[in-house]
């Protein structure tokens, strides 16, 4: 099967300007050479700590911020080369759900206008038909008809996130980028929203790129998981593999630090020293080497590539060499 989304060597640098003439002095390497393929119907989880570049990656894939270099293939066509008009066509197929349910809805628009906006932009429906479709969408995400005429500030966080989801699925997109969709919500509401997302995926045949820092949520929703560290993907594997046989030392540490709501859950905790490095001056060699409990000489010299270690388990670590193709 061909991937729905195929990202190759994607880079996104934000220039830092300084001095009197605002000269370009350095770059923030937010996304630095990322390869990623997402199959149709899949839920791909993207995990990382703050500053790892996961949100930037999501926004760059939607071309909400322009990639510095690299290619993004959507159904086999490179959208980085798409003109403005061609991009309009792709926008129908790719939508986003945002993290903050407060700043993601225009406070001056009513629910019906928020949800119907994309329908109007792409001229999918007219007049009464639009209202009918909006009503359908609102019911689909679990809200009531009389919510249509209210403003966002009259809703709770969970309800707002449902409105955001209704807006994103209005055009029947193929790919939904979900940027921490539940991290601002309480657990009991989070569970409702996660179930809604799973439900919608089945009903509407959606593909998810699910960005989160919460490994528990990722484990619940996703089929395949990628871990990001300092602008680079360090491990990609099916979800069971990540949680049962993690390979990259960073993944190991992150999993052991994950708080489980179970007092009997005892693991050998690997507490990482120090903090995530600066994405401005990336050190030579492996980006994780300075914090890695298993680092050795080669790690400080050579940057390990992301290689297949067998069984679709990709790791970027010198401890785990590629399995030779036989």
């Amino acid at each position: 099967m061909d991937p729905l989304l195929d990202v190759r060597h994607l880079k996104k640098y934000f220039p830092i300007r300084g001095g009197l003439w605002q000269r370009h002095v350095n770059d923030v390497h937010a996304v630095d050479d990322v390869d990623l393929a997402i199959m149709p119907g899949e839920s791909f989880g993207l995990v990382g700590e703050s500053g790892s570049g996961k949100t930037t990656l999501g926004k760059t894939i939607l071309r909400l911020s322009e990639p510095t270099s690299g290619e993004i293939f959507f159904e086999g066509r490179d959208i980085c080369k798409a003109t403005h008009d061609e991009m309009q066509g792709y926008r129908v197929d790719m939508q986003m759900v945002f993290q903050d349910p407060y700043s993601s809805l225009n406070p001056r628009m009513k629910v019906k206008d928020i949800v119907s906006e994309s329908l109007l932009i792409h001229k999918r429906t007219k007049g009464r038909e639009t209202l009918e479709r909006v009503r359908e969408l609102i019911n689909l995400v679990g809200l009531m008809d009389d919510h249509l005429h209210r403003f966002p500030h009259e809703f709770s966080g969970g309800q707002r996130q449902r409105i955001g989801i209704a807006r994103a699925i209005a055009l029947h997109p193929r790919l939904l980028v979900l940027d921490e969709p539940t991290s601002a919500l309480d657990v009991s509401v989070q569970a409702q929203v996660l179930n809604l997302l799973l439900d919608l995926q089945k009903k509407l045949d959606l593909t998810y790129l699910f960005i989160s820092h919460d490994l528990g949520v990722i484990r619940y929703v996703c089929n395949r998981v990628g871990l990001m560290y300092l602008g680079r993907i360090v491990e990609i594997a099916p979800v069971e593999k990540i949680f049962d046989e993690p390979k990259h030392p960073y993944t190991l540490a992150l999993l052991s630090a994950m708080p489980e709501a179970d007092p009997d859950h005892k693991v050998q905790e690997i507490v990482l020293e120090g903090e995530i490095g600066s994405p401005i001056n990336i050190p030579r060699g492996c980006r994780f080497a300075s914090r890695c409990p298993a680092q050795f000489g080669r790690c400080h010299v050579e940057d390990p590539p992301l290689v297949d270690t067998g069984d679709k388990h990709m790791v970027a670590c010198h401890l785990h060499p590629a399995k030779d193709a036989t």
Partner: protein, 348 residues
């Protein structure tokens, strides 16, 4: 823990039937409606609940930091080491906050003053905790006085020592830095150092790791655990993350809509939860065992405290609601074991 070794004194904190209202534009919001909570010496008590359940307000009422107005305590009592907090004068409260109760907050950035160095802020905090306000150097030229300089040097030694204790490396080089030169995790360590400087009896930690990444959160939690053992500290940890509670607490109190609905040891709450809300909360967390699509949220959303539901405030969302739940106010704390108490008509 420690409490069992000592001769039986009273609990460190005892809150009885605390009622707090906020008078707002839209009416009277009944933020706390009869909170009962006990913190024994040596406890690390996790106070959990969702947004707006009153967990922060409960904690802030112990050092009496609720802004009044708009807040108004309309009933109940708070005993700290046997002393009635609500009856104290403002000066006595200041002394209490300086010496016996310390707090750390969610956002370490806004709790450090950006225009002073870590050194100055640490020294001031330590002097306040030692009750040496005269050495703060607030009067003109007082910083040149011998006695003041002596005290400040002494406080500085203590600051260095404390910062080393909370795991800041190269303290002598970094103590002169400004807060923005420190990362979020480091700033939280600085705040913990400030809080610990007066050797408080109670540390109130309000979502101390929520703004931090998982790996940094692990570092901070490990530090808090160490401090508890080292300083015989009691902690009231406010959080919405049950995973954090399971990691470092020995007791839990679950709050819902202005009431504590269940308290118990960590095993009692996590392994044998009784209140339908606690059960729902635990079922809502994705764990190793949860299958795709089978996670159960709690239907509905938290009530508006301007017009809370009559009777038990949880009954509109409760799967086991009975007619009396809507009619009668929730019962008092019903003891199930010596440590496990629940507020629910199912256990009348």
């Amino acid at each position: 823990m420690l409490s069992s070794l000592l001769p039986s004194e009273g609990p460190l904190v005892k809150i009885r039937d605390l009622r707090l209202n906020f008078n707002t534009f839209d009416g009277v919001s009944k933020v706390l409606a009869g909170v009962n909570l006990t913190v024994e010496k040596g406890d690390v008590l996790g106070l959990v609940g969702e947004t707006g359940c009153g967990k922060t307000m409960t904690a802030l009422s112990i050092p009496r930091l609720i802004p009044c107005p708009p807040g108004e305590i309309v009933g109940g009592e708070i005993l700290f080491e046997g002393e009635d907090v609500l009856a104290k004068s403002e000066d006595e409260m200041r002394e209490l906050r300086a010496s016996r109760i310390a707090m750390i907050f969610q956002d370490p950035t806004t709790n450090l003053n950006p225009v002073f160095t870590i050194e100055e802020q640490m020294i001031d905090a330590i002097l306040c905790r030692m009750g040496e306000q005269s050495a703060l150097g607030l009067t003109p030229f007082s910083r040149w006085q011998g006695s003041v300089r002596e005290k400040r040097t002494e406080a500085r030694h203590k600051a260095v020592e404390m910062l080393k204790r909370v795991g800041i490396s190269q303290v002598e080089d970094r103590i002169g830095s400004y807060p923005h030169e420190f990362s979020g995790g480091m700033r939280q360590r600085v705040l913990i150092a400030m809080a610990m400087a007066g050797q408080p009896h109670l540390l109130i930690a309000d979502e101390p790791t929520t703004a931090l990444d998982v790996s940094i959160q692990a570092q901070i939690l490990r530090l808090v655990k160490e401090l508890v053992d080292e300083f015989h500290l009691s902690v009231l940890l406010i959080t919405h993350n049950l995973g954090v509670v399971a990691k470092i607490c020995n007791k839990v109190a679950v709050m819902y809509a202005g009431r504590v609905v269940e308290t118990g040891t960590i095993r009692e709450i996590f392994k044998a939860p009784k209140h339908p809300y606690t059960v729902g909360l635990l079922n809502a967390i994705p764990t190793r065992a949860s299958r795709r699509g089978e996670l159960q949220g709690i239907p509905g959303s938290i009530p508006n405290l301007l017009s809370p539901p009559a009777g038990c405030r949880f009954h509109p969302r409760c799967a086991h609601a009975m007619p009396q739940c809507a009619a009668d106010p929730a019962p008092g704390m019903i003891p199930l074991t010596r440590t496990h108490q629940v507020v629910c008509h199912l256990f009348d």
